[in-house]
């Protein structure tokens, strides 16, 4: 090798190997950390799992004093609020993404992008504060009475309007996941080749037809991926939900009723829990949350990559 003519080559290669080893060790640490989290949560949940078995997941009674633990009400609360949030946020986010990727005039792009990023940067606790003092009173005094007047025959809009409950939590969650949905969807749209658009326009399509027929169908898997990532965020979101959901371990049809999510259960009870079984059941809740978001991430990233590939991530893209 030519390098051996260099008198310092051997010191180079030793130092290089050390440095390389150091960086690879740091990268491997991340993998170890993930495994450690899974193992540690699994170990902590094991005791409760052995005692209760599948009832832990399907039981409807959560009674720490009576040492009975079933997390179904929290699973229900988590899934309901997250899906409602997605239902509310997805159309709006898609509109924002299409606007930013296809329609916005040059001067409007940067400010809107910054605003959406700031929406994502506001801490969860601040959305909680806003939820408690702005959103909940508005829902209680204006929105829920109106919904009841016009759509009160639907069971989801029945019951007393106290503001705190499923609807408030879903709305706060919708606001919080909207930036994620919008930003990733926009990246996906921008990754669709320009020629695709030009071809549609050349065939006489209006701009909306171009978006609907030539861009969105191709971008669909990526947009679905963005929604899965948003769903993952919604499932694990804690503070804002804890503050506005009312925290009651009930399964109620009404969206006005208080409920509780897996994350808000942890926020409310974990610091005070002392009994081994109670702690174990709570650790099981934490493990389930972690595992579900992991699976959602796994699926979502595959979908986003299929459309956007490295194009959306590369700085040379159409951003």
């Amino acid at each position: 090798m030519a390098a051996s003519l260099n008198p310092t080559a051997s010191t180079h290669s030793v130092a290089d190997r050390w440095f390389r080893g150091l960086t690879v060790a740091a990268a491997a640490f991340l993998v170890l950390l993930l495994l450690a989290i899974l193992l540690q949560l699994g170990r902590a949940a094991l005791g409760a799992l052995q005692v209760f078995g599948p009832v832990l997941l399907t039981g409807r009674t959560w009674d720490p004093a009576g040492a009975t633990f079933g997390i179904l009400p929290f699973v229900y609360g988590t899934v309901l609020t997250s899906l409602l949030a997605l239902l509310i946020a997805a159309p709006v986010a898609l509109g924002v993404a299409v606007y930013l990727a296809e329609l916005a005039p040059e001067g409007a792009k940067a400010p809107v992008t910054v605003a959406v990023e700031l929406l994502a940067a506001v801490p969860s606790i601040v959305y909680g504060l806003w939820g408690v003092f702005v959103l909940v009173p508005w829902l209680r005094d204006t929105v829920q009475p109106q919904l009841q007047t016009w759509l009160g025959f639907l069971p989801v809009f029945s019951g007393a309007s106290i503001g705190f409950g499923v609807l408030a939590a879903s709305l706060v969650l919708a606001v919080m996941i909207l930036p994620t949905l919008a930003a990733i969807s926009r990246d996906v749209l921008l990754a669709i080749p320009r020629a695709q658009r030009e071809a549609a326009l050349a065939l006489g399509a209006t701009r909306f037809e171009m978006i609907r027929d030539a861009v969105l169908p191709q971008a669909l898997p990526g947009i679905v991926g963005a929604m899965m990532l948003g769903l993952g965020r919604a499932l694990g979101e804690t503070m804002a939900v804890t503050m506005v959901i009312g925290n009651r371990a009930d399964i109620s049809l009404s969206w006005f009723a208080p409920a509780q999510t897996m994350a808000s259960l942890l926020a409310n009870e974990y610091a005070e829990a002392t009994e081994e079984l109670h702690l174990g059941a709570l650790a099981f809740v934490g493990l389930s949350l972690f595992a579900v978001t992991l699976l959602l991430n796994l699926g979502a990233r595959g979908l986003v990559r299929r459309v956007a590939g490295s194009a959306a991530r590369s700085p040379g893209g159409a951003r």
Partner: protein, 282 residues
């Protein structure tokens, strides 16, 4: 002719709806900011930054211990996560397309998307239980776990932006590869890397959930890492959950301080990155 009109109508309607959605999306942001300023500004005072919370009934008091606590814990978390994150980012950027790189990158993404409350539970079972008590160190550790994947991925992406010919020039001058990485690649990517770290810090400073059962919060000045410690988001939670009007007022003021810090970090990061990338938005 009527078909044309119909199509034009649908076109305008569709485009209008997208614009409307964008306006709608910004309503909560505006509402949050307006409330923060209108309700928080009234509570701003010198004492807010320097004094301890007063028991209910006494006028005044502040959230000084929470600001200090956030500073200490985020600082310690930064010391723990920054070296690891930068090194891991280097490994990813220079590892080509190997299987190892793909796995680590995926793991980093998964960790970045992990619910922060679950990380809190992890640190509780791994640190708080064995040490028999809540501690600022446990809080800092939880924040570090949340910051590490963000720093890793942003470092990687910014290192990848450094043109290959800069590296080649360094190697051609006879520099060992590790020196090229540190003095050429990392150095030229430094503004961007610093930005990524700043964003991770901003996010960690606003985290509440992972601190609930690690740092736990405190109403007193605390310097000791082995004791419970207050944090600004935890303090806002305590104040907002109380039934007292005066405490709500203080919660808004504290939230205004927190959001100002976080948004300044974000805007600053944007500005630096834009310059680093030669006018390209993040």
């Amino acid at each position: 002719m009527s078909l044309f009109r119909h199509r034009r109508l649908v076109d305008r309607l569709g485009r209008g709806l997208c614009g409307l959605a964008t306006l709608l999306a910004l309503v909560p942001l505006v509402s949050v900011l307006v409330w923060l300023v209108s309700h928080g500004a009234r509570g701003l005072s010198f004492a807010l930054f320097t004094e301890l919370p007063k028991p209910f009934g006494e006028v005044g008091g502040g959230v000084g211990q929470a600001l200090l606590g956030t500073g200490i814990m985020v600082g310690v978390a930064l010391l723990l996560s920054m070296p690891l994150g930068i090194l891991a980012g280097i490994a990813l950027a220079e590892g080509g397309k190997s299987r190892f790189v793909q796995i680590v990158r995926f793991v980093a993404d998964v960790l970045a998307g992990a619910p922060s409350i679950a990380v809190g539970v992890f640190v509780y079972t791994a640190v708080v239980m064995p040490m028999h008590g809540f501690s600022a160190f446990a809080g800092a550790l939880a924040l570090a776990v949340l910051m590490l994947p963000t720093i890793t991925r942003s470092t990687e992406e910014l290192l990848r932006l450094v043109p290959i010919h800069l590296r080649e020039a360094g190697l051609a001058l006879g520099l060992p590869a590790w020196r090229v990485t540190l003095s050429v690649t990392l150095k030229s990517a430094l503004p961007g890397v610093a930005t990524g770290i700043m964003l991770a810090v901003a996010r960690a400073a606003g985290e509440t959930a992972p601190l609930l059962f690690t740092a736990f919060g405190s109403q007193y000045w605390a310097w000791n890492l082995s004791e419970p410690m207050a944090a600004l988001p935890l303090q806002i939670f305590t104040l907002a959950s109380s039934p007292f009007e005066a405490w709500h007022q203080q919660a808004w003021a504290a939230a205004l301080v927190l959001v100002t810090l976080v948004l300044l970090a974000n805007l600053g990061a944007r500005f630096v990155t834009r310059r680093a990338r030669g006018g390209m938005a993040l």
